[in-house]
């Protein structure tokens, strides 16, 4: 963890951050791991954007009982990479980052496609990789491949 990093203190003192943990990027690829509040991400994204960072990707993890969203940010011009995790729920949409970072658009659509997590304020939240009338979210732990899955069938086969 580079102590001269300007974002370090800002992140530490941000009310959106629950816990900040420095780590060795040479060993595990991140300079900082953050645990954040579910609603705090747009605010942090703005902070990252103002300090020369870009959104690398958004993904999610299904732990069975709970889901978690993961955001990774990197700096353009200095070695600084951050992973931020926040709890997510299927009932309650997480705030969308598209207003702040246009790069979040397709990333959020992918998370929606694979996990069924929704984002409040996303302009066009629809499936991106799977056919639009698919009715399953394949990376969820409770996804069981059924009769409609497999390579023999696809939408519009009769077209």
């Amino acid at each position: 963890m580079n102590q001269a990093e300007p974002l370090y203190e800002l992140l530490r003192s941000s009310p959106a951050v629950l816990e900040a943990q420095g780590s060795q990027s040479a060993r595990d690829g991140f300079d900082l791991r953050l645990a954040i509040r579910a609603k705090g991400m747009p605010e942090l994204a703005r902070l990252f954007k103002e300090h020369g960072c870009f959104l690398e990707f958004i993904t999610a993890v299904d732990h069975g009982e709970s889901l978690e969203l993961i955001y990774v940010f990197s700096a353009w011009l200095r070695p600084f990479r951050v992973m931020a995790r926040c709890p997510a729920s299927l009932m309650e949409p997480s705030p969308s980052l598209v207003e702040v970072l246009a790069a979040a658009d397709w990333q959020e659509r992918e998370v929606f496609d694979m996990f069924g997590l929704e984002f409040a304020g996303h302009p066009d939240l629809k499936r991106i990789l799977l056919p639009e009338d698919a009715d399953f979210h394949p990376l969820r732990k409770d996804f069981k491949p059924g009769a409609r899955h497999g390579g023999d069938w696809f939408e519009g086969e009769t077209a």
């Binding site: 990789l129 799977l130 491949p145 899955h149 497999g150």
Partner: protein, 175 residues
Amino acid sequence: MVERQETPPPVQLGILSQILDLCRANSLWPMTFGLACCAIEMMAAGASRFDLDRFGAGVFRPSPRQSDVMIVAGTISKKMAPTIITLYHQMPAPKWVVAMGNCAISGGPFAYEGQYAIVNGADRFLPVDVYVPGCPPRPEALIQGLLELEDQLTKGAKRNYLRRFQRHANPDGKA
């Protein structure tokens, strides 16, 4: 399943139709269209080292309206399949389909039970003329596949008089 569209010509032209077939066989215009890793080998086959132009098949057209061969090079996802059907319908007949790589033949490494995103092969919805196996096939394999298609068009390698490699046409080696 899209049916092969074969309307016999209104007038039978005899020897002239054979000449037309020979012309078609030696000026195949493939569509610029790649779906996954196999497309990289297709590009290599079209580039200077392997040079598909030697066989008249190097004019990759950016529009289906101008092409007569569809090289299905890569993995067909379920989202892509309807688009491929549309592209096929947009090509003017006569048209041919080459399934390049294991993915386009049978789903390749993605054909397992319970997968949800991949169609197991182009021949589930298109009339495929030539299969080129490999993961990915080498450019030479694609070239052989296209030569095979040319021989199909002239109804036999012997009648493909413009063919560059005469050994296959004349197994005894006389040119």
